[in-house]
């Protein structure tokens, strides 16, 4: 594929590049590096939250909203890889199928492939390709997470955390790590019983967490299955995202925040590359099991072994 095809928004070429990046072909990385100067125009919105909270439906309705506003929308949806087989079922886009034929929408599914934090390693690579292809609004849907380890979402401009009423007696399902990254909180399926209580609990948790000045986090109620109809809350959600954008990315701290985003991305890349090398180094020494055997046989203590291994990479 040529650079120009990608910049022209050729779907087949862009999709193939994404596949090659996901499969971590070195030649694809070379293309990505060339694309980099053409990126930076898109606004990235991360969507995360509990399993079953309706994230895909929220994304579906947001696509409809941004399309109505005339934006070109790229979507990256991530589903978990089965640790058992290495396979995955990527079914998020079923909920977005009505946009399948819209030339202004590009939806791409990825499997985590062993990566933690609810995203696949190639997520931001794929987002960069979408950016270079001219998609100005990029929605990134993580796997259903209840735990922390969502640091990587700091690389998005605005992170939306979706929850639903009725997850249990309290809202512990939204763990503090998830709350930490939330720029906007969504109570989806808000026509269900318990929506008031869920909202109250969220407010309470935000207050508890606030040491000193409380982070401005809007809570929006949605019924995402209603699409853009009156009372769905999707327009309000989009407004909350825009408000966050104004506050942060058009505000005085924008430059510092941008540096923070880039740092997060860079740190992630460095960590991943180091992990690759460590894995390779271990493989060259017969693999992790073999190394563990040396510890078990008391040939070495684990600290020295780890230090020596890392020193060699």
């Amino acid at each position: 594929m040529s650079l120009q095809e990608i910049l022209d928004g050729n779907v087949r070429a862009g999709a193939r590049l994404m596949r090659d990046l996901d499969d971590r072909r070195p030649e694809a990385l070379a293309v990505l590096k060339q694309l980099y100067p053409h990126t930076g125009k898109a606004y990235l919105v991360g969507i995360t939250g509990n399993p079953g909270a309706g994230k895909s439906t929220v994304v579906d309705s947001l696509i409809a909203h941004y399309r109505q506003a005339g934006e070109r929308v790229g979507v990256v949806c991530v589903d978990p890889t089965s640790p058992f087989s290495g396979g995955a079922i990527l079914g998020d886009r079923i909920r977005m199928q009505r946009h399948a034929l819209d030339p202004g929408v590009f939806i791409r599914s990825l499997a985590t492939r062993g990566n933690l934090g609810g995203l696949s390693r190639s997520t931001f690579d794929v987002a960069h390709v979408l950016d270079a292809m001219g998609y100005t609004r990029i929605l990134i849907e993580t796997v259903g997470v209840g735990q922390d380890e969502v640091d990587v979402m700091k690389a998005a401009h605005t992170t939306v955390v979706v929850t639903v009423p009725g997850l249990g007696d309290d809202i512990q399902a939204i763990k503090s790590g998830l709350l930490e990254v939330a720029d906007v909180l969504v109570v989806n399926k808000s026509d269900r019983e318990g929506a008031d209580r869920t909202e109250r609990d969220l407010l309470h948790m935000l207050d508890l967490r606030a040491h000193g000045e409380r982070k401005a986090v809007e809570i929006v109620r949605t019924i995402a299955t209603k699409g853009l109809a009156e009372g769905s809350g999707i327009r309000e959600l989009a407004m909350a995202i825009e408000a966050h954008r104004d506050r942060i990315w058009r505000g005085p701290d924008a430059e510092a925040r941008q540096l923070g985003r880039t740092s997060a991305h860079l740190a992630e890349l460095v960590r991943a590359l180091l992990a690759d090398r460590a894995t390779k180094a271990m493989a060259e020494r017969g693999g992790l099991a073999q190394l563990a055997r040396r510890v078990a046989d008391q040939e070495s203590d684990p600290w020295t072994l780890a230090e020596n291994l890392v020193a060699s990479v």
């Binding site: 396979g87 886009r93 079923i94």
Partner: protein, 650 residues
């Protein structure tokens, strides 16, 4: 004196209202005692025959009914007040009932004399059959309204059939079938109660109007016990939950279509015996005997049946009812300790399962969370696994496979039905004629009144009858309501299931996938989807899960996807292979469309495979049109199928 036999029906309809009418008259003359209308998929999903998504499907799996004019033609020469008519219709059930009432009114027939049923069960559409349109809340309200309306204005009509039939086809065990169906029925009645639009006496009548549509499989002793368990549990639920005092109103009334899941493409003549045995399960016990019986045909796993095939199945019923002494005795099994123990075990299992569903907020909660769907996909996967491993014997499939060639499939038509290829044109001409001759102002006003009623949450039955009389079309009626209520996408249930166990075949397959990943650096990516309107998703779901368990990344696009959308998805996802599941008989049109759309998008190099009921004589044509491989029900070994998919991925 012998008991009267059950109602003999045959599920029938194809091509056009006129052709189906001729078939019904022929069947009635052959001794059939009721009608069972099969509608085509556009009618079931609420599209007119000239709608783009409907085009390949018109007249394929049933009759197209786009307006009251088609309904008149369908019942030409058949007196409605003397007929017992069952309509297999769900998403658009209340509309087809409105058309039926409309025909009665225009003929001057008293609508209170109409007898029969609309299937009108949305739960199993979400779980298994896929012809739902609207979200659960308005869908359940439509069913509740059917009860309110029928009890007041059509007292001999069954407003819905609670269907466990499709649950068993989707893999349900007897306990699941019992629990899910009863939870479904309670959901309907709870809704009627919550709406408070009928008084207590009328509510008790509503309970009495609940009827069921049940499946019966090859384990016919257990199936008979299942019917007895149904009878026992339904009586108790009506008494305890709704305080119904009249025992007649607590009767478990059911019709049956016996099992198609167990019918085989291999040695298809054996299916004749299977159908007979399945029929025994629902007729032997007087206390739990069906009210109406429909039998599939010996060649259902090959394609759609011909009139002669249907006549052969009808004759089975007649031989059973009229030549044997079956109807001369009381119940043969009451007090039998073996039967009693089995029934008790089923009741206990189903009661526990029902309690679980109740704890999730009843059937709507259990659907919303995906629980029921997950359990069904899991049961189906387990069944496929047992057959693959030879633990469950299917004669001619995994045992006694060697056989002489069957003369039944040797005829010039290959032993299967061929739908009229011109049916679509005729249906499109008919709907155009209806639109041309109606009063446009009256039609528009009728639709506006319908939208108004739906928006206010008011009953829509009378407004729908007014639409029928104003010659509003099926597509117009459905679109008006889609605009008010939105369209629904059901849970897929594939997340929780697993198929590939630790058997040697699967280990070997996973090793092959891993070797490919190591050699090429590529993990195989497969797109699975169902083009067209057919919603029977079990096959597609099982393949998706099996491929995942072998190590594929599977993009599951779900049901009712246009050929263009499948192609666009394949290109955006940069998949290695596209797998289509098609059961509606529209495989030639749909496969061609997907191949063409892929080429138009620069994805012509992505191979396409098809799985489904594809008759042998169409295989060569599909390959000629660019399909790489065809899988049929004869390919039952999932590890072999997925292995073949892997070979195509390079």
């Amino acid at each position: 004196m012998a008991d009267a036999p059950w109602i003999f029906r045959t599920y029938a309809g194809h091509s056009s209202a006129q052709a189906s009418n001729a078939l019904y008259r022929q069947n009635l003359a052959a001794g059939q005692t009721g009608l069972s209308i099969a509608f085509d998929l556009p009618t079931q999903c609420g599209y007119d025959p000239d709608d783009a998504i409907a085009r390949p499907e018109v007249g394929k799996v049933g009759v197209p009914i786009a307006s009251i004019d088609d309904m008149h033609a369908l019942f030409e020469g058949i007196p409605l007040d003397q007929m017992n008519t069952s309509m297999t219709i769900n998403g658009t059930a209340i509309w087809l009932l409105a058309l039926y009432v409309g025909v009665a009114r225009e003929r001057g027939t008293d609508q209170r004399a109409l007898r029969g049923t609309i299937q009108n069960d949305i739960v199993k559409e979400y779980l298994a059959r896929g012809t739902y349109i609207f979200p659960p809340a308005p869908s359940l309200d439509l069913i509740a309204e059917s009860y309110e309306y029928c009890v007041a204005h059509m007292p001999q009509w069954n407003p819905s059939n609670v269907c466990s039939y499709h649950l068993q086809e989707a893999g349900a065990t007897p306990v699941q079938e019992l629990a899910f169906a009863l939870a479904d029925a309670l959901g309907v009645l709870d809704r009627v109660a919550a709406r408070q639009r009928v008084d207590d006496a009328a509510f008790q009548q509503c309970v009495g109007r609940v009827s069921f549509f049940v499946n019966a499989g090859m384990r016919f002793v257990e199936e008979m016990c299942k019917m007895r368990a149904f009878t026992r549990m339904w009586d108790a639920l009506c008494r305890e939950r709704y305080g119904v005092t009249d025992p007649k109103l607590r009767q478990f009334r059911y019709g049956v279509q016996v099992n198609s899941l167990g019918l085989t493409e291999q040695q298809p003549e054996n299916n004749a015996w299977r159908i007979l045995i399945e029929a025994l399960g629902v007729t032997l016990s007087k206390d739990a005997r069906c009210r109406a019986l429909q039998l599939p045909t010996w060649n259902e796993a090959l394609s759609l049946p011909r009139p002669w095939d249907q006549q052969w199945s009808l004759r089975l019923q007649q031989v059973l009812a009229f030549e044997t002494d079956l109807l001369e005795y009381g119940d043969l099994f009451t007090g039998n300790p073996v039967i009693e123990a089995k029934v008790t075990a089923l009741v206990d299992g189903a009661t526990a399962e029902l309690a679980k569903i109740e704890a999730m907020g009843g059937i709507t909660g259990a659907i919303d969370t995906g629980y029921c769907k997950k359990e069904l996909v899991r049961s189906m996967a387990a069944r496929m696994g047992r057959i693959e491993r030879g633990e469950q014997i299917v004669v001619g499939v995994n045992k006694y496979v060697e056989a002489l060639p069957s003369p039944l499939v040797g005829g010039s038509d290959g032993g299967v039905f061929h739908a009229d290829p011109a049916a679509g044109d005729a249906a499109r001409a008919a709907v155009a004629a209806t639109r041309a001759r109606r009063d446009p102002a009256r039609a528009a006003a009728a639709v506006a009144a319908l939208v108004d009623a739906a928006t206010r949450g008011a009953p829509i039955m009378e407004a729908s009858i007014a639409c029928a009389l104003a010659r509003v079309t099926t597509g117009e009626w459905a679109q008006a309501l889609r605009d008010v209520w939105g369209e629904y996408r059901a849970e897929t249930g594939i997340a929780g299931a697993s198929i590939g166990g630790a058997s040697d075949d699967w280990q070997a397959l996973r090793t092959r996938v891993l070797a490919r990943v190591d050699a090429t650096g590529r993990r195989p990516r497969l797109l699975v989807g169902k083009p067209g309107l057919d919603g029977h998703s079990n096959g597609a779901e099982v393949i998706a899960v099996a491929a995942r368990d072998a190590g594929f990344e599977v993009i599951y696009a779900g049901i009712r996807v246009s050929a263009a959308a499948i192609a666009q998805t394949a290109v955006q996802e940069a998949v290695d292979l596209v797998g289509l599941s098609i059961l509606s008989g529209s495989h030639l049109e749909l496969a061609s469309a997907v191949v063409d759309e892929l080429r138009a998008r620069g994805g012509g190099d992505i191979p396409v495979v098809i799985g489904g009921t594809v008759p042998a004589h169409d295989h060569a044509e599909l390959l000629r049109r660019g399909v790489s491989r065809v899988f049929t029900p004869a390919d039952y070994k999932l590890s072999d199928i997925v292995g073949a998919l892997l070979d195509l991925c390079c």
